[in-house]
């Protein structure tokens, strides 16, 4: 069964599985960042390119949810093209031979944008069929939903556990590379407890399973409602969905501080820091993560100081 790798919570794994292909969440590692980042390049986007380009015979679904990932998809497609020897003249990066699919997730929320997300899922379906998948029938849809493949779940971003004596914190940010999940451990070692996880792939981007018969009747309609209508993210305009998700949970869980993180050159999440910190009205800390394989001493010290100020 062909593997289809993806990174974004806006790619429904259930839709890939319904086409008879295996959805695989890329476990992005700082080891893949390598030394090849260009000035201004997001280390996460670079790690995705480097990891994906080593995987032959797979398909990749990347999203245009940020400029860096949109361009990473183009870069990756060109890498594969070059490998196929198509370098005699500039070809279109997304020609029919490309194993890379760029899903255009609209940034806006209005009804035409919603229709467009739905149309993009349909286009993804056609791509998967062209690449060896099958057009899903009712039983394929039912089976893929039953197998619980609705969720994008990033295991390494699970906090260790909530301790009642610890200071309850929220962690908020985009995708997190495997090694940088160390920040949860550092928080916990310093008397904190991650009681609200707003990292990509965690609570913020989880969707609630829908009704199977509804899925069979209108799969794209249901996926649009589950993913496009409900996931707040830094790239969406307006970005009100993020604060709508975060603020009530902060109150419900008696959160006392918020740790934001953003990869170097990630404009979307970095800019969120000030706006969301204003919205939550709590002590907040911004961590800038690079492509290194361990959290830097500076980052750890910042977490320690932040925790000390909250205790």
């Amino acid at each position: 069964m062909k593997h289809v790798y993806y990174t974004s919570p806006f790619v429904p794994p259930v839709w890939i599985a319904a086409h008879g292909l295996k959805p695989c969440l890329m476990n992005v590692s700082a080891r893949d960042t390598g030394t090849g980042t260009s000035p201004g390049e997001c280390p996460y986007a670079r790690a995705v390119i480097n990891q994906a380009s080593r995987r032959d015979d797979s398909l990749f679904v990347l999203t245009a949810t940020c400029d860096q990932m949109r361009r990473a998809a183009e870069w990756l497609s060109l890498e594969f093209e070059q490998r196929r020897g198509k370098d005699e003249k500039a070809k279109d990066p997304y020609d029919l031979d490309s194993p890379v699919f760029l899903l255009n997730v609209p940034a806006t929320w209005h009804s035409a944008a919603r229709d467009r997300y739905r149309a993009e899922l349909a286009r993804l379906g056609r791509f998967l069929v062209r690449k060896g998948g099958r057009s899903p029938d009712a039983s394929d849809l039912r089976e893929s939903l039953r197998s619980g493949r609705l969720q994008l779940h990033v295991p390494h971003t699970d906090p260790v556990g909530v301790r009642t004596t610890a200071v309850p914190l929220a962690v908020v940010g985009g995708p997190l590379m495997e090694e940088h999940a160390e920040l949860y451990r550092v928080i916990e070692r310093n008397g904190g407890s991650v009681a609200l996880n707003g990292s990509e792939g965690c609570e913020r981007s989880q969707v609630t399973p829908g009704d199977a018969s509804e899925f069979v009747r209108d799969p794209l309609g249901m996926l649009t409602a589950l993913y496009f209508d409900s996931i707040g993210d830094a790239f969406r305009r307006p970005d009100s969905g993020l604060a709508r998700w975060l603020v009530p949970r902060i109150e419900q869980r008696s959160i006392r501080g918020v740790v934001f993180y953003a990869y170097t050159w990630c404009d979307l999440w970095r800019a969120q820091y000030v706006s969301l910190a204003e919205a939550v009205k709590l002590p907040s800390l911004l961590l800038e993560l690079g492509g290194e394989e361990r959290l830097s001493a500076g980052t750890i010290t910042r977490i320690q100081a932040f925790m000390e100020s909250l205790r």
């Binding site: 390049e41 245009a64 183009e74 370098d87 279109d92 609209p106 305009r237 800019a271």
Partner: protein, 462 residues
């Protein structure tokens, strides 16, 4: 008044201005000596060189009086539309009816350079959480905060989707600061897939027809918003007329580019060409004056080409330039090093392509919007660059990176690969140009000199 073309300092222009006045120079209402703008804070003008023609004087005065003209428009009862992240689409809709004036708040990225940082806009943006990891366009945020530059618009629009992350983040911050924004989606431009209808865009790229239909619907939403602001309807006939008027401006710019970049004698400095190229984006807040300025510039250039007189020796090495520069001294630096810019992709090349007049107007505008190089792939952009570099006989290429800009991280390398494939003998260099490049000028100069030397050596060797 037909003196030999030359580049003058500001002091030299003052003398020339007095002479021209004595000889009966007729100016537009916003005319005057260039040095008066220094008194208003544009100190960078003191270190620039300007073309000596009255046509160039009018161009500079149009550019440097924009804020003043916008305030006057508001005082005269007009509504101001700030068309953000928009290189030539919403302004065409806005200028479809009298009573609306559209401008390009992103243009504030030149303020730190022009005022040599004295306005403190970048520091203001930093204090608002938008620090120097973002593109210099963050100066716009500072301008909104200080309210000492352009008037705060009655309506702000911003395209989002296949745009740069810097601007999307900055505009969102602006909205959080209390400036409501009408967001509209510009999708990533993709070619048609099997079974889909494909359309050829004015810039030569192709796009699935469904993308055009989607953007046309977005523009319909914008048309309604602008109608509400104007307090009158904007008919499709109004839009068609506005497209025709925009095309007059675009054709003038095309003719100017062909005449300047195609001529062996370099009839106009690169700095004036950079400014001329930005005019069709939003008409510098005055469409009819933009047309008049371009007509005058074109007439001057045609005269100079006819006489074979230019501002640089014919031996100047022909460089193609990629990306706009925030420090306006860079074009002069290139010319002082023995080069000339003979073609450029300043990221608004699509604003010079004629908008189709034989399709429904919103569809035509959608095609223009989707032609934006930012919306497509870097490969598409590279192909356009190659066509233009070939057309104007470029001998080398400079890709100038914009500090912090999300698209510059990988785009330059892809463009370089396309150029290397299609124009294998064209040397390419890439470097970053900050808003105020004082500290980097010696390095940049050395790099440009080395490039020019390389080209000259190639010419000598068989």
């Amino acid at each position: 008044m037909n003196e030999a073309p030359a580049r003058l300092s500001l002091a030299e222009w003052d003398v020339r201005y007095d002479t021209l006045r004595q000889r009966g120079l007729r100016e537009a209402w916003y005319g005057g000596s260039l040095s008066r703008h220094v008194e208003h804070g544009d100190r960078r003008l003191l270190s620039l060189r300007f073309d000596n023609s009255p046509a160039a004087l009018r161009l500079w005065n149009l550019l440097l009086t924009e804020e003043e003209r916008l305030h006057a428009a508001r005082a005269g009862g007009k509504k101001i539309v700030g068309a953000m992240k928009d290189l030539g689409t919403v302004p065409i809709l806005a200028y479809a009816v009298p009573g609306l004036v559209a401008f390009y708040p992103d243009g504030a990225w030149w303020i730190p350079c022009l005022m040599e940082g004295s306005a403190g806009l970048l520091a203001k943006a930093g204090a608002l959480g938008i620090d120097d990891t973002f593109c210099p366009v963050r100066a716009m945020l500072g301008a909104f905060e200080t309210q000492r530059h352009f008037p705060i618009p009655d309506l702000l629009t911003c395209s989002v989707g296949a745009t740069c992350d810097d601007f999307s983040a900055i505009a969102q911050r602006l909205e959080h600061m209390g400036h409501p924004i009408h967001w509209w989606e510009i999708p990533h431009r993709r070619p048609a897939e099997p079974g889909e209808e494909q359309t050829l865009l004015p810039t030569g790229a192709t796009v699935a027809q469904s993308e055009i239909a989607f953007v046309a619907r977005e523009l319909e939403r914008l048309r309604r918003v602008l109608q509400d602001l104007a307090g009158r309807s904007i008919s499709l006939d109004d839009v068609s007329a506005s497209i025709r008027a925009a095309n007059v401006v675009r054709r003038l710019l095309c003719a100017l580019r062909d005449a300047v970049y195609g001529s062996p004698c370099c009839p106009l400095p690169a700095l004036e060409m950079l400014i001329a190229e930005v005019l069709p984006v939003h008409f510098c807040s005055d469409r009819s004056e933009t047309e008049a300025v371009l007509r005058e510039l074109l007439a001057e250039v045609v005269r100079r080409v006819h006489c074979g007189s230019g501002i640089l020796p014919q031996s100047a090495v022909r460089l193609f330039w990629v990306n706009p520069v925030a420090d306006l001294r860079i074009p002069r630096l290139v010319e002082d090093c023995g080069g000339r810019i003979c073609g450029a992709d300043y990221m608004f090349c699509h604003a010079q392509a004629t908008i189709p007049e034989n399709v429904p107007p919103l569809e035509a505008l959608a095609m223009a919007a989707l032609s934006d190089p930012m919306a497509g792939t870097a490969v598409d952009r590279g192909r356009w660059i190659c066509r233009e570099a070939r057309r104007f006989g470029a001998e080398a290429m400079v890709i100038s990176r914009i500090p912090g800009a999300s698209h510059c991280a990988t785009e330059g390398e892809i463009i370089r690969r396309v150029v290397t494939r299609e124009l294998p003998h064209l040397p390419v260099i890439e470097f970053e140009v900050p808003s105020v490049a004082d500290a980097l000028l010696p390095t940049l100069q050395t790099r440009v000199e080395a490039l020019i030397e390389t080209v000259r050596l190639r010419k000598v060797k068989p």
